[in-house]
Amino acid sequence: MSKISAAVVRKLAALSRLQLTDEEVERYQKDLSEILSYVEVLQSVDVAGLEPTSQVTGLMNVTRPDEVLDYKTTPQQLLKNAPAVEAHQFKVKRII
Protein backbone atom coordinates (compact mmCIF):
# COMPACT_ATOMS: atom_id res chain seq x y z
CA MET A 1 0.00 0.00 0.00
CA SER A 2 1.39 3.37 -0.97
CA LYS A 3 1.82 5.47 2.12
CA ILE A 4 1.38 9.21 1.91
CA SER A 5 3.47 11.04 4.51
CA ALA A 6 2.25 13.92 6.64
CA ALA A 7 4.68 16.18 4.77
CA VAL A 8 3.09 15.26 1.42
CA VAL A 9 -0.40 15.95 2.79
CA ARG A 10 0.78 19.34 4.04
CA LYS A 11 2.33 20.11 0.66
CA LEU A 12 -0.88 19.12 -1.17
CA ALA A 13 -2.88 21.23 1.27
CA ALA A 14 -0.62 24.22 0.62
CA LEU A 15 -0.93 23.79 -3.15
CA SER A 16 -4.72 23.44 -2.76
CA ARG A 17 -4.92 26.50 -0.49
CA LEU A 18 -6.30 24.54 2.44
CA GLN A 19 -5.18 25.27 5.99
CA LEU A 20 -5.53 21.87 7.64
CA THR A 21 -5.49 21.15 11.36
CA ASP A 22 -3.13 18.43 12.66
CA GLU A 23 -6.10 16.07 13.09
CA GLU A 24 -7.08 16.66 9.48
CA VAL A 25 -3.54 15.94 8.27
CA GLU A 26 -3.63 12.61 10.08
CA ARG A 27 -7.05 11.72 8.72
CA TYR A 28 -6.22 12.62 5.11
CA GLN A 29 -2.93 10.75 5.34
CA LYS A 30 -4.96 7.59 5.93
CA ASP A 31 -7.72 8.41 3.40
CA LEU A 32 -5.38 9.49 0.60
CA SER A 33 -3.13 6.47 1.12
CA GLU A 34 -6.15 4.17 0.83
CA ILE A 35 -7.48 5.86 -2.31
CA LEU A 36 -4.10 6.03 -4.04
CA SER A 37 -3.48 2.35 -3.26
CA TYR A 38 -6.79 1.48 -4.87
CA VAL A 39 -6.03 3.37 -8.10
CA GLU A 40 -2.58 1.76 -8.34
CA VAL A 41 -4.25 -1.11 -10.18
CA LEU A 42 -3.92 1.01 -13.33
CA GLN A 43 -0.10 0.97 -13.19
CA SER A 44 0.12 -2.55 -14.61
CA VAL A 45 -2.43 -2.06 -17.41
CA ASP A 46 -1.00 -2.42 -20.90
CA VAL A 47 -1.92 0.66 -22.94
CA ALA A 48 0.72 0.33 -25.66
CA GLY A 49 -0.25 2.22 -28.82
CA LEU A 50 -3.16 4.08 -27.19
CA GLU A 51 -3.53 7.85 -26.90
CA PRO A 52 -5.04 9.52 -23.81
CA THR A 53 -8.69 10.71 -23.98
CA SER A 54 -9.57 14.11 -22.58
CA GLN A 55 -13.00 14.50 -24.15
CA VAL A 56 -15.46 12.03 -25.60
CA THR A 57 -17.58 13.57 -28.35
CA GLY A 58 -14.84 14.75 -30.71
CA LEU A 59 -15.88 18.41 -30.80
CA MET A 60 -13.04 20.81 -31.57
CA ASN A 61 -12.53 24.56 -31.39
CA VAL A 62 -16.14 25.45 -30.60
CA THR A 63 -16.60 29.20 -30.83
CA ARG A 64 -19.46 31.67 -30.90
CA PRO A 65 -19.68 35.11 -32.48
CA ASP A 66 -17.73 37.74 -30.57
CA GLU A 67 -20.78 39.83 -29.74
CA VAL A 68 -21.73 41.69 -26.60
CA LEU A 69 -24.85 40.15 -25.09
CA ASP A 70 -27.11 41.94 -22.66
CA TYR A 71 -27.47 39.70 -19.61
CA LYS A 72 -29.45 42.40 -17.83
CA THR A 73 -27.13 41.75 -14.89
CA THR A 74 -26.13 44.82 -12.95
CA PRO A 75 -22.83 45.41 -11.13
CA GLN A 76 -24.92 45.78 -7.96
CA GLN A 77 -26.26 42.23 -8.39
CA LEU A 78 -22.73 40.87 -8.67
CA LEU A 79 -21.42 42.89 -5.74
CA LYS A 80 -24.36 41.84 -3.57
CA ASN A 81 -22.73 38.43 -3.02
CA ALA A 82 -19.32 39.85 -2.13
CA PRO A 83 -18.00 39.39 1.42
CA ALA A 84 -16.56 42.94 1.35
CA VAL A 85 -17.12 45.86 -1.00
CA GLU A 86 -15.63 49.33 -1.12
CA ALA A 87 -16.03 52.06 -3.71
CA HIS A 88 -18.06 49.76 -5.98
CA GLN A 89 -15.30 47.13 -6.03
CA PHE A 90 -14.46 43.81 -4.37
CA LYS A 91 -12.39 44.48 -1.28
CA VAL A 92 -9.65 41.99 -0.39
CA LYS A 93 -7.04 41.81 2.36
CA ARG A 94 -3.95 43.93 1.96
CA ILE A 95 -1.41 42.24 -0.35
CA ILE A 96 1.65 44.52 -0.09
Binding site: V8, Y28, L32, V45, T57
Partner: protein
Protein backbone atom coordinates in the same frame (compact mmCIF):
# COMPACT_ATOMS: atom_id res chain seq x y z
CA UNK B 1 -51.47 12.27 -4.25
CA UNK B 2 -49.39 10.70 -6.97
CA UNK B 3 -48.90 12.68 -10.14
CA UNK B 4 -50.46 11.77 -13.45
CA UNK B 5 -48.18 11.46 -16.48
CA UNK B 6 -46.81 14.91 -17.39
CA UNK B 7 -48.48 14.86 -20.83
CA UNK B 8 -51.88 14.31 -19.11
CA UNK B 9 -51.27 17.18 -16.69
CA UNK B 10 -50.34 19.62 -19.45
CA UNK B 11 -53.29 18.56 -21.61
CA UNK B 12 -55.66 19.30 -18.72
CA UNK B 13 -53.98 22.62 -17.93
CA UNK B 14 -54.28 23.75 -21.57
CA UNK B 15 -57.94 22.67 -21.61
CA UNK B 16 -58.65 24.61 -18.41
CA UNK B 17 -59.56 21.42 -16.52
CA UNK B 18 -56.62 21.77 -14.14
CA UNK B 19 -55.30 25.01 -12.74
CA UNK B 20 -51.56 25.62 -12.56
CA UNK B 21 -52.11 27.27 -9.18
CA UNK B 22 -53.67 24.07 -7.82
CA UNK B 23 -50.68 22.10 -9.05
CA UNK B 24 -48.31 24.39 -7.15
CA UNK B 25 -50.61 23.96 -4.13
CA UNK B 26 -50.21 20.18 -4.41
CA UNK B 27 -46.42 20.48 -4.46
CA UNK B 28 -46.42 22.87 -1.52
CA UNK B 29 -48.63 20.48 0.47
CA UNK B 30 -46.26 17.64 -0.28
CA UNK B 31 -43.17 19.72 0.62
CA UNK B 32 -44.75 20.42 4.03
CA UNK B 33 -45.95 16.85 4.61
CA UNK B 34 -42.53 15.37 3.83
CA UNK B 35 -40.30 17.83 5.66
CA UNK B 36 -38.85 14.97 7.81
CA UNK B 37 -37.10 13.43 4.83
CA UNK B 38 -35.06 16.58 4.17
CA UNK B 39 -35.27 16.09 0.41
CA UNK B 40 -35.18 19.85 -0.15
CA UNK B 41 -32.93 22.64 1.04
CA UNK B 42 -35.74 25.15 0.51
CA UNK B 43 -39.04 25.57 2.32
CA UNK B 44 -42.63 26.11 1.20
CA UNK B 45 -43.23 29.18 3.38
CA UNK B 46 -41.53 32.52 2.85
CA UNK B 47 -39.75 31.13 -0.20
CA UNK B 48 -38.87 33.32 -3.18
CA UNK B 49 -38.93 30.18 -5.32
CA UNK B 50 -42.49 29.22 -4.33
CA UNK B 51 -43.70 32.83 -4.64
CA UNK B 52 -42.30 33.01 -8.16
CA UNK B 53 -43.96 29.66 -8.99
CA UNK B 54 -47.35 30.97 -7.81
CA UNK B 55 -46.92 34.14 -9.85
CA UNK B 56 -46.05 32.21 -13.00
CA UNK B 57 -48.89 29.74 -12.36
CA UNK B 58 -51.33 32.63 -12.20
CA UNK B 59 -50.05 33.93 -15.54
CA UNK B 60 -50.55 30.48 -17.10
CA UNK B 61 -54.11 30.19 -15.75
CA UNK B 62 -54.95 33.67 -17.07
CA UNK B 63 -53.58 32.81 -20.51
CA UNK B 64 -55.67 29.62 -20.61
CA UNK B 65 -58.75 31.61 -19.59
CA UNK B 66 -58.16 33.96 -22.51
CA UNK B 67 -57.86 30.97 -24.83
CA UNK B 68 -54.16 31.50 -25.48
CA UNK B 69 -51.74 28.64 -26.03
CA UNK B 70 -49.45 27.78 -23.14
CA UNK B 71 -46.09 25.95 -23.10
CA UNK B 72 -45.41 22.24 -23.42
CA UNK B 73 -44.86 21.93 -19.66
CA UNK B 74 -47.38 24.53 -18.54
CA UNK B 75 -48.18 24.24 -14.86
CA UNK B 76 -45.87 21.28 -14.13
CA UNK B 77 -44.01 21.78 -10.83
CA UNK B 78 -40.40 20.61 -10.65
CA UNK B 79 -37.42 20.45 -8.33
CA UNK B 80 -33.82 21.29 -9.25
CA UNK B 81 -30.80 19.89 -7.46
CA UNK B 82 -29.21 22.78 -5.59
CA UNK B 83 -26.17 22.91 -7.87
CA UNK B 84 -28.34 24.50 -10.58
CA UNK B 85 -28.23 28.29 -10.52
CA UNK B 86 -31.68 29.85 -10.22
CA UNK B 87 -32.43 33.54 -9.96
CA UNK B 88 -35.00 32.96 -7.23
CA UNK B 89 -33.73 31.87 -3.81
CA UNK B 90 -30.16 30.80 -3.07
CA UNK B 91 -27.81 28.31 -4.66
CA UNK B 92 -25.66 26.43 -2.13
CA UNK B 93 -24.42 23.20 -3.78
CA UNK B 94 -25.07 21.95 -0.19
CA UNK B 95 -21.80 23.59 0.77
CA UNK B 96 -20.90 26.24 3.30
CA UNK B 97 -18.51 27.99 0.94
CA UNK B 98 -21.42 29.24 -1.18
CA UNK B 99 -23.45 30.45 1.76
CA UNK B 100 -25.07 32.73 0.92
CA UNK B 101 -25.06 32.96 -2.85
CA UNK B 102 -27.77 34.60 -4.95
CA UNK B 103 -27.14 33.65 -8.56
CA UNK B 104 -27.14 36.60 -10.96
CA UNK B 105 -28.15 34.34 -13.86
CA UNK B 106 -29.97 31.06 -14.34
CA UNK B 107 -29.05 27.62 -15.72
CA UNK B 108 -30.02 27.06 -19.37
CA UNK B 109 -31.97 23.93 -18.37
CA UNK B 110 -34.11 25.91 -15.92
CA UNK B 111 -34.59 28.71 -18.48
CA UNK B 112 -35.76 26.21 -21.09
CA UNK B 113 -38.15 24.52 -18.67
CA UNK B 114 -39.58 27.85 -17.49
CA UNK B 115 -40.00 29.03 -21.08
CA UNK B 116 -42.34 26.04 -21.58
CA UNK B 117 -44.30 26.82 -18.41
CA UNK B 118 -42.69 24.41 -15.92
CA UNK B 119 -42.62 25.80 -12.38
CA UNK B 120 -39.58 25.50 -10.11
CA UNK B 121 -40.91 24.88 -6.58
CA UNK B 122 -37.77 23.91 -4.67
CA UNK B 123 -34.08 23.08 -4.63
CA UNK B 124 -32.99 19.56 -3.68
CA UNK B 125 -30.34 18.39 -1.23
CA UNK B 126 -27.12 16.80 -2.52
CA UNK B 127 -23.67 15.78 -1.39
CA UNK B 128 -21.74 19.06 -1.26
CA UNK B 129 -20.57 19.91 -4.79
CA UNK B 130 -22.08 16.56 -5.86
CA UNK B 131 -19.20 14.67 -4.24
CA UNK B 132 -20.71 11.52 -2.82
CA UNK B 133 -23.03 8.55 -3.17
CA UNK B 134 -25.36 9.01 -0.22
CA UNK B 135 -26.24 12.72 0.27
CA UNK B 136 -24.55 12.43 3.68
CA UNK B 137 -21.84 14.89 2.58
CA UNK B 138 -24.36 17.75 2.56
CA UNK B 139 -23.41 20.55 4.95
CA UNK B 140 -27.08 20.78 5.84
CA UNK B 141 -27.56 17.13 6.87
CA UNK B 142 -28.56 13.98 4.98
CA UNK B 143 -31.75 13.19 3.09
CA UNK B 144 -33.62 10.09 4.27
CA UNK B 145 -34.71 7.32 1.92
CA UNK B 146 -38.48 7.49 1.29
CA UNK B 147 -38.73 3.68 1.60
CA UNK B 148 -36.84 3.46 4.90
CA UNK B 149 -35.84 6.47 6.96
CA UNK B 150 -32.79 4.69 8.36
CA UNK B 151 -31.25 4.37 4.89
CA UNK B 152 -29.63 6.80 2.47
CA UNK B 153 -31.39 7.88 -0.75
CA UNK B 154 -28.17 7.47 -2.75
CA UNK B 155 -26.23 10.35 -4.15
CA UNK B 156 -25.26 12.76 -5.10
CA UNK B 157 -28.75 13.73 -6.43
CA UNK B 158 -30.34 12.11 -3.34
CA UNK B 159 -32.70 15.00 -2.68
CA UNK B 160 -33.93 14.90 -6.29
CA UNK B 161 -34.53 11.12 -6.12
CA UNK B 162 -36.33 11.37 -2.79
CA UNK B 163 -38.43 14.36 -3.97
CA UNK B 164 -39.77 12.37 -6.93
CA UNK B 165 -40.34 9.23 -4.83
CA UNK B 166 -42.23 11.36 -2.26
CA UNK B 167 -44.38 12.90 -5.04
CA UNK B 168 -43.22 16.42 -4.21
CA UNK B 169 -43.19 17.10 -7.96
CA UNK B 170 -43.57 15.05 -11.16
CA UNK B 171 -39.88 15.48 -11.99
CA UNK B 172 -36.59 16.72 -10.63
CA UNK B 173 -33.34 17.72 -12.29
CA UNK B 174 -30.12 16.06 -11.22
CA UNK B 175 -26.50 15.90 -12.32
CA UNK B 176 -24.56 12.72 -13.08
CA UNK B 177 -20.75 12.77 -13.05
CA UNK B 178 -20.27 9.11 -12.11
CA UNK B 179 -23.76 7.84 -11.32
CA UNK B 180 -25.30 10.68 -9.33
CA UNK B 181 -28.67 10.47 -11.12
CA UNK B 182 -28.84 6.69 -11.58
CA UNK B 183 -27.79 5.67 -8.06
CA UNK B 184 -30.47 7.71 -6.24
CA UNK B 185 -33.02 6.62 -8.86
CA UNK B 186 -32.13 3.01 -8.05
CA UNK B 187 -32.17 3.49 -4.26
CA UNK B 188 -35.43 5.51 -4.30
CA UNK B 189 -37.29 3.41 -6.89
CA UNK B 190 -37.71 6.04 -9.63
CA UNK B 191 -36.49 6.53 -13.21
CA UNK B 192 -33.13 8.32 -13.58
CA UNK B 193 -31.75 9.34 -16.96
CA UNK B 194 -28.13 10.13 -17.83
CA UNK B 195 -28.06 11.47 -21.42
CA UNK B 196 -25.23 11.26 -23.94
CA UNK B 197 -22.41 13.60 -22.88
CA UNK B 198 -23.17 17.06 -24.29
CA UNK B 199 -26.87 16.50 -25.07
CA UNK B 200 -28.02 18.86 -22.30
CA UNK B 201 -26.41 22.23 -21.62
CA UNK B 202 -24.56 22.55 -18.32
CA UNK B 203 -24.46 26.33 -18.45
CA UNK B 204 -25.32 27.64 -15.00
CA UNK B 205 -24.67 24.33 -13.23
CA UNK B 206 -21.89 24.15 -10.63
CA UNK B 207 -19.07 22.31 -12.42
CA UNK B 208 -17.60 19.16 -10.90
CA UNK B 209 -15.71 17.17 -13.56
CA UNK B 210 -16.14 18.84 -16.92
CA UNK B 211 -15.28 15.80 -19.05
CA UNK B 212 -17.99 13.61 -17.47
CA UNK B 213 -20.65 15.95 -15.97
CA UNK B 214 -24.12 15.65 -17.52
CA UNK B 215 -27.52 16.76 -16.35
CA UNK B 216 -30.77 14.86 -16.64
CA UNK B 217 -34.22 14.25 -15.15
CA UNK B 218 -35.47 11.93 -12.40
CA UNK B 219 -39.10 10.98 -12.98
CA UNK B 220 -41.82 8.42 -12.28
CA UNK B 221 -41.98 7.00 -15.82
CA UNK B 222 -40.08 6.90 -19.10
CA UNK B 223 -42.60 9.10 -20.97
CA UNK B 224 -42.06 11.87 -18.41
CA UNK B 225 -38.30 11.55 -18.93
CA UNK B 226 -38.84 11.93 -22.68
CA UNK B 227 -41.03 15.04 -22.27
CA UNK B 228 -38.45 16.75 -20.07
CA UNK B 229 -35.54 15.72 -22.28
CA UNK B 230 -37.39 17.16 -25.27
CA UNK B 231 -37.36 20.57 -23.62
CA UNK B 232 -33.87 20.67 -22.07
CA UNK B 233 -31.72 18.97 -24.74
CA UNK B 234 -29.93 20.49 -27.70
CA UNK B 235 -27.16 22.90 -28.53
CA UNK B 236 -26.55 25.94 -26.35
CA UNK B 237 -24.09 28.66 -27.40
CA UNK B 238 -23.20 29.13 -23.73
CA UNK B 239 -21.92 25.55 -23.38
CA UNK B 240 -19.32 24.73 -26.03
CA UNK B 241 -19.56 21.00 -25.27
CA UNK B 242 -23.23 20.70 -26.29
CA UNK B 243 -24.12 18.58 -29.31
CA UNK B 244 -26.91 18.83 -31.90
CA UNK B 245 -30.01 16.73 -31.30
CA UNK B 246 -32.32 15.45 -34.02
CA UNK B 247 -35.59 17.29 -34.56
CA UNK B 248 -37.95 14.41 -33.73
CA UNK B 249 -39.54 14.38 -30.28
CA UNK B 250 -38.15 11.90 -27.74
CA UNK B 251 -41.76 10.78 -27.28
CA UNK B 252 -41.56 9.04 -30.66
CA UNK B 253 -40.21 5.76 -29.34
CA UNK B 254 -39.65 2.37 -30.88
CA UNK B 255 -40.82 -0.07 -28.20
CA UNK B 256 -40.61 -3.21 -30.31
CA UNK B 257 -38.30 -5.68 -28.57
CA UNK B 258 -38.23 -8.27 -31.37
CA UNK B 259 -34.68 -8.70 -32.62
CA UNK B 260 -33.20 -6.08 -30.28
CA UNK B 261 -29.76 -7.27 -29.20
CA UNK B 262 -28.99 -6.75 -25.53
CA UNK B 263 -25.62 -7.55 -23.97
CA UNK B 264 -25.46 -8.58 -20.32
CA UNK B 265 -22.27 -7.17 -18.77
CA UNK B 266 -20.60 -10.30 -17.38
CA UNK B 267 -18.32 -8.35 -15.03
CA UNK B 268 -21.33 -6.93 -13.14
CA UNK B 269 -22.50 -10.37 -12.01
CA UNK B 270 -19.82 -11.36 -9.53
CA UNK B 271 -19.81 -12.37 -5.85
CA UNK B 272 -20.01 -8.69 -4.88
CA UNK B 273 -23.54 -8.48 -6.27
CA UNK B 274 -26.24 -8.72 -3.61
CA UNK B 275 -28.34 -11.88 -4.09
CA UNK B 276 -31.66 -10.07 -3.88
CA UNK B 277 -30.54 -7.53 -6.49
CA UNK B 278 -29.23 -10.30 -8.74
CA UNK B 279 -32.55 -12.13 -8.55
CA UNK B 280 -34.54 -9.07 -9.61
CA UNK B 281 -32.17 -8.35 -12.52
CA UNK B 282 -32.45 -11.96 -13.68
CA UNK B 283 -36.24 -11.67 -13.60
CA UNK B 284 -35.97 -8.51 -15.72
CA UNK B 285 -33.73 -10.29 -18.23
CA UNK B 286 -36.23 -13.16 -18.51
CA UNK B 287 -39.05 -10.71 -19.23
CA UNK B 288 -37.05 -9.04 -22.00
CA UNK B 289 -36.17 -12.44 -23.51
CA UNK B 290 -39.79 -13.60 -23.44
CA UNK B 291 -40.82 -10.42 -25.25
CA UNK B 292 -38.45 -11.22 -28.10
CA UNK B 293 -35.18 -9.48 -27.23
CA UNK B 294 -31.98 -11.34 -28.13
CA UNK B 295 -30.01 -11.41 -24.90
CA UNK B 296 -26.44 -12.62 -24.61
CA UNK B 297 -23.57 -12.28 -22.17
CA UNK B 298 -20.79 -9.93 -23.25
CA UNK B 299 -17.30 -9.31 -21.96
CA UNK B 300 -15.88 -5.87 -21.10
CA UNK B 301 -12.58 -6.81 -19.43
CA UNK B 302 -11.47 -3.24 -18.66
CA UNK B 303 -14.74 -2.27 -16.99
CA UNK B 304 -13.26 -3.42 -13.67
CA UNK B 305 -10.69 -0.62 -14.06
CA UNK B 306 -13.32 2.09 -14.53
CA UNK B 307 -13.62 3.06 -10.88
CA UNK B 308 -9.85 3.49 -10.44
CA UNK B 309 -9.72 5.46 -13.69
CA UNK B 310 -12.63 7.61 -12.52
CA UNK B 311 -11.03 8.37 -9.13
CA UNK B 312 -8.00 9.84 -10.85
CA UNK B 313 -9.64 11.79 -13.68
CA UNK B 314 -12.54 13.21 -11.70
CA UNK B 315 -10.56 14.50 -8.69
CA UNK B 316 -8.09 16.07 -11.15
CA UNK B 317 -10.92 18.00 -12.79
CA UNK B 318 -12.51 18.72 -9.40
CA UNK B 319 -9.30 20.26 -8.08
CA UNK B 320 -9.30 22.63 -11.04
CA UNK B 321 -13.04 23.45 -11.03
CA UNK B 322 -13.12 24.12 -7.28
CA UNK B 323 -10.17 26.51 -7.31
CA UNK B 324 -12.54 29.41 -8.01
CA UNK B 325 -14.06 29.21 -4.52
CA UNK B 326 -11.70 31.50 -2.67
CA UNK B 327 -13.96 33.63 -0.47
CA UNK B 328 -13.23 36.93 -2.21
CA UNK B 329 -16.03 37.60 -4.68
CA UNK B 330 -18.96 35.63 -3.29
CA UNK B 331 -19.94 33.16 -0.62
CA UNK B 332 -18.43 32.49 2.77
CA UNK B 333 -15.22 34.31 3.71
CA UNK B 334 -13.29 33.63 6.92
CA UNK B 335 -13.42 36.80 9.00
CA UNK B 336 -10.54 35.76 11.25
CA UNK B 337 -7.96 35.76 8.40
CA UNK B 338 -5.14 38.27 8.84
CA UNK B 339 -3.92 38.41 5.25
CA UNK B 340 -5.01 37.32 1.76
CA UNK B 341 -3.29 33.90 1.85
CA UNK B 342 -4.91 33.10 5.18
CA UNK B 343 -8.22 34.29 3.81
CA UNK B 344 -8.04 31.73 0.99
CA UNK B 345 -6.76 28.93 3.19
CA UNK B 346 -9.08 29.29 6.17
CA UNK B 347 -12.11 29.97 3.96
CA UNK B 348 -11.47 26.84 1.91
CA UNK B 349 -10.69 24.67 4.93
CA UNK B 350 -13.87 25.69 6.77
CA UNK B 351 -16.07 26.15 3.69
CA UNK B 352 -15.49 22.78 2.00
CA UNK B 353 -16.66 19.39 3.29
CA UNK B 354 -14.12 16.65 4.05
CA UNK B 355 -14.94 14.85 0.79
CA UNK B 356 -14.41 18.05 -1.21
CA UNK B 357 -10.98 18.44 0.37
CA UNK B 358 -10.06 14.80 -0.23
CA UNK B 359 -10.88 15.12 -3.93
CA UNK B 360 -9.10 18.45 -4.30
CA UNK B 361 -5.94 16.99 -2.74
CA UNK B 362 -6.09 13.71 -4.70
CA UNK B 363 -6.55 15.77 -7.86
CA UNK B 364 -3.64 18.01 -6.95
CA UNK B 365 -1.50 14.92 -6.28
CA UNK B 366 -2.23 13.16 -9.60
CA UNK B 367 -1.66 16.36 -11.56
CA UNK B 368 1.59 17.35 -9.84
CA UNK B 369 4.87 17.04 -11.67
CA UNK B 370 6.45 13.65 -11.22
CA UNK B 371 3.05 11.97 -10.79
CA UNK B 372 1.18 13.36 -13.82
CA UNK B 373 2.30 10.64 -16.26
CA UNK B 374 1.96 7.79 -13.80
CA UNK B 375 -1.54 8.73 -12.64
CA UNK B 376 -3.43 11.27 -14.73
CA UNK B 377 -2.07 10.47 -18.18
CA UNK B 378 -2.25 6.78 -17.46
CA UNK B 379 -5.90 7.06 -16.40
CA UNK B 380 -6.73 9.04 -19.54
CA UNK B 381 -5.12 6.31 -21.64
CA UNK B 382 -6.98 3.54 -19.81
CA UNK B 383 -10.08 5.61 -20.57
CA UNK B 384 -9.29 5.19 -24.27
CA UNK B 385 -8.97 1.43 -23.76
CA UNK B 386 -12.37 1.37 -22.07
CA UNK B 387 -13.96 3.42 -24.85
CA UNK B 388 -12.52 1.05 -27.47
CA UNK B 389 -13.94 -1.97 -25.67
CA UNK B 390 -17.40 -0.40 -25.51
CA UNK B 391 -17.21 0.52 -29.21
CA UNK B 392 -16.29 -3.08 -30.08
CA UNK B 393 -19.13 -4.48 -28.01
CA UNK B 394 -21.63 -2.06 -29.58
CA UNK B 395 -20.70 -3.55 -32.95
CA UNK B 396 -22.34 -6.77 -31.80
CA UNK B 397 -25.21 -5.59 -29.55
CA UNK B 398 -27.60 -2.60 -29.55
CA UNK B 399 -27.75 -2.15 -25.78
CA UNK B 400 -26.03 -3.16 -22.57
CA UNK B 401 -27.72 -4.28 -19.37
CA UNK B 402 -26.75 -4.71 -15.73
CA UNK B 403 -27.75 -3.64 -12.23
CA UNK B 404 -27.42 0.07 -11.39
CA UNK B 405 -25.73 -0.74 -8.08
CA UNK B 406 -24.44 -3.90 -6.37
CA UNK B 407 -26.80 -3.45 -3.40
CA UNK B 408 -29.98 -1.65 -2.41
CA UNK B 409 -29.79 1.54 -0.30
CA UNK B 410 -27.37 1.18 2.61
CA UNK B 411 -27.88 2.40 6.18
CA UNK B 412 -27.14 6.00 7.06
CA UNK B 413 -23.63 6.12 8.51
CA UNK B 414 -22.58 2.71 7.14
CA UNK B 415 -19.86 4.07 4.85
CA UNK B 416 -18.93 7.42 6.37
CA UNK B 417 -15.68 6.20 7.93
CA UNK B 418 -14.27 4.80 4.70
CA UNK B 419 -14.29 7.04 1.65
CA UNK B 420 -13.17 4.11 -0.49
CA UNK B 421 -16.10 1.96 0.66
CA UNK B 422 -18.42 4.83 -0.30
CA UNK B 423 -16.80 5.05 -3.76
CA UNK B 424 -17.61 1.38 -4.38
CA UNK B 425 -21.34 2.22 -4.48
CA UNK B 426 -20.60 3.76 -7.91
CA UNK B 427 -18.76 0.74 -9.29
CA UNK B 428 -21.46 -0.03 -11.89
CA UNK B 429 -22.23 3.54 -12.95
CA UNK B 430 -18.89 5.30 -13.55
CA UNK B 431 -17.89 3.54 -16.80
CA UNK B 432 -20.83 5.13 -18.62
CA UNK B 433 -19.55 8.62 -17.76
CA UNK B 434 -15.99 7.88 -18.84
CA UNK B 435 -17.29 6.61 -22.20
CA UNK B 436 -19.88 9.41 -22.58
CA UNK B 437 -22.80 7.11 -23.46
CA UNK B 438 -26.43 7.42 -22.31
CA UNK B 439 -27.80 5.18 -19.54
CA UNK B 440 -30.97 4.85 -17.53
CA UNK B 441 -31.89 3.35 -14.17
CA UNK B 442 -35.36 1.83 -14.02
CA UNK B 443 -37.30 0.41 -11.06
CA UNK B 444 -36.93 -3.38 -11.17
CA UNK B 445 -38.76 -4.81 -8.19
CA UNK B 446 -37.59 -4.95 -4.62
CA UNK B 447 -35.17 -6.84 -2.44
CA UNK B 448 -36.13 -6.99 1.24
CA UNK B 449 -38.60 -4.13 0.69
CA UNK B 450 -36.01 -1.83 -0.86
CA UNK B 451 -36.09 -0.84 -4.55
CA UNK B 452 -33.71 -2.41 -7.07
CA UNK B 453 -32.49 -0.53 -10.15
CA UNK B 454 -32.02 -2.00 -13.63
CA UNK B 455 -29.42 -0.16 -15.71
CA UNK B 456 -29.63 0.00 -19.51
CA UNK B 457 -27.00 1.63 -21.75
CA UNK B 458 -26.76 2.53 -25.44
CA UNK B 459 -24.06 3.95 -27.74
CA UNK B 460 -23.52 7.74 -27.86
CA UNK B 461 -26.35 9.67 -29.54
CA UNK B 462 -28.71 6.68 -29.28
CA UNK B 463 -30.79 8.32 -26.55
CA UNK B 464 -34.05 7.79 -28.42
CA UNK B 465 -33.38 4.07 -28.92
CA UNK B 466 -32.49 3.73 -25.23
CA UNK B 467 -35.70 5.43 -24.11
CA UNK B 468 -37.62 3.11 -26.45
CA UNK B 469 -36.08 0.04 -24.82
CA UNK B 470 -36.71 1.53 -21.38
CA UNK B 471 -40.37 2.13 -22.18
CA UNK B 472 -40.75 -1.39 -23.56
CA UNK B 473 -39.28 -2.75 -20.32
CA UNK B 474 -41.56 -0.52 -18.26
CA UNK B 475 -44.60 -1.91 -20.09
CA UNK B 476 -43.48 -5.48 -19.27
CA UNK B 477 -42.86 -4.75 -15.60
Amino acid sequence: MSWEPISEITKKVQAGKLKAIDLVDESVKSIKANIDYHALLTTADKSDIVEKAYKKAQEIDEKVKKGEKVGRLAGVPFIAKDNFLATSGYTTAASWILAPFEAPYQATAINRLEAEGALLVGKANLDAFAHGSSTENSRFGPTLNPHDKTRVPGGSSGGSGAAVALDIAPFALGTDTGGSIRLPASYCGVVGYKPTYGLVSRYGVVAMASSTDVIGPLTRRVDDTAVVLDVISGKDVFDGTTIERDSTSYLQLDTNLKGKKIGIIKQYFTDGLDRGVKKQIEISIEKLKKAGAEVREINLPSIDLALACYYIIVPAEVSSNLSRYDGQRYGYSAKEAKNLDESYEITRDLGFEAENKRRIMIGTYVLSSGYYDAYYRKAQTVRTKLINEFNDVFNTVDFLLGPTAPTTAFKIGANVDSPLQMYLADIMTVAVNLVGIPAISLPAGESENMPVGLQLMAPQHRDRALLGLAKAYEELA
